[in-house]
Symmetry: D2
Subunit: 140 residues, 4 copies
Amino acid sequence: MAFRAPIKVCFSDIDNAGIVYYPRFIHYFHLAMEEFFSSVMGIDYSAVLHERNLACPTVRVECDFKRRMKYGDRIDMEVRIINIGRTSITWGYCGRLHGNEDVIVVEGSNVTVCTSVDTFEKMDVPLWLREGLTRYMNSF
Amino acid sequence: MAFRAPIKVCFSDIDNAGIVYYPRFIHYFHLAMEEFFSSVMGIDYSAVLHERNLACPTVRVECDFKRRMKYGDRIDMEVRIINIGRTSITWGYCGRLHGNEDVIVVEGSNVTVCTSVDTFEKMDVPLWLREGLTRYMNSF
Amino acid sequence: MAFRAPIKVCFSDIDNAGIVYYPRFIHYFHLAMEEFFSSVMGIDYSAVLHERNLACPTVRVECDFKRRMKYGDRIDMEVRIINIGRTSITWGYCGRLHGNEDVIVVEGSNVTVCTSVDTFEKMDVPLWLREGLTRYMNSF
Amino acid sequence: MAFRAPIKVCFSDIDNAGIVYYPRFIHYFHLAMEEFFSSVMGIDYSAVLHERNLACPTVRVECDFKRRMKYGDRIDMEVRIINIGRTSITWGYCGRLHGNEDVIVVEGSNVTVCTSVDTFEKMDVPLWLREGLTRYMNSF
């Protein structure tokens, strides 16, 4: 089964239409990616940045919003690895309503490019990350 | 010329990699849409919500991030209308580096669906909005 | 022992000085209050708002920031009830470094006023809330 | 007259009670301080950070919220210098309702400490800043 990060819609995520402000879902994608590093890769994203000198800035995102979400709702955000290129990783996200997993709330993907934290220069996906992600892709 | 909303990258938009947190660009799209209503449609989006009872939640977004942005950078965010459907509007955004308009920073689009603020039910694009957007589409 | 809400400093909480953007600590206070309702009062703050028609807007906050926090740090945010007035509640917060509880990261308080969600009019602290908070105050 | 930064309450500043999320007012204080540097000190806060290697993290804030604010409201945020110590600066903020300046929306202050961006060590308020702030204090 894909990794799922639990997300709680908090009071301040709500906009003046009474539902989750849509850019917050993209923030949820990032939170889920951070959790993915900690839980699946066994390294906090903060350590990826500051110890391994690797950042994963996003160069493309797309997202379908399928259900309006209210304060107090909970999302289980699935994270998948769609593709590993030479320097880029394509991540897939599928947010399911907590407690009713057939209800898909949000679905999307983003492409990140491996870059040096210091120079911002593009670099190849490091071996430790490629191996970890590949193992994860093959595990379900 | 397309409408352009001036956006300033502020201190808190920056993430721990030292550049704009990528979901903030989607927030910038929303800020630009809000400015578009005030400047081009002649009605604040707050009045659209609370006086005309119309909300425009997003059902899809896609975005390419073409240049990392730092604190203090400024973006001129172009807003275009790509399509007006029966109930939906497709908006296009092109963020240009302020002072160097050939440099495209971010480019994307979203689809909003007209809904009632009270019931969240889908409704046809109201005539006043359709006419205003059409006039704008034909003006350049 | 006072209730403690676990808070994780996330990637986007960091500002361009490389530390937690200070208004985010006030957001952490709110997150901790939300958790307090769920865990201690036995009711989600979303239900307080939407079922009991009660909001607790803040009329005053004060806060001392005692330690800069970085991405990946964790805070255990203690919540205390300092005072229950006729219409107001004074909340105390003490953020301790997770794993090293003698290190106080942030300390502050805010005053909330009970108001009707519909009319925004001030109301007396409802009995269920007064009793729950009093029980909590006497429990340690 | 004190410097005033214009602030627009935007769609996403609103919380699930339909008013400005109270930590956002503290963010408004920061935005006003950023504008103060650009407009009054003649240097962007980004240049203060990255060219002069000076950061002004906050060690204390206090704030009274006097009026609930809704989407579309505008605030003129006055910035005053209350005190200049050896290493610290005390800033005062008074948010007035745009178009009705006698209505005070929010009032507060924070204390910032001059620190090196690189080492995070405390430093004396640099002369250029002390002189600029003093000139400003004496100008009205």
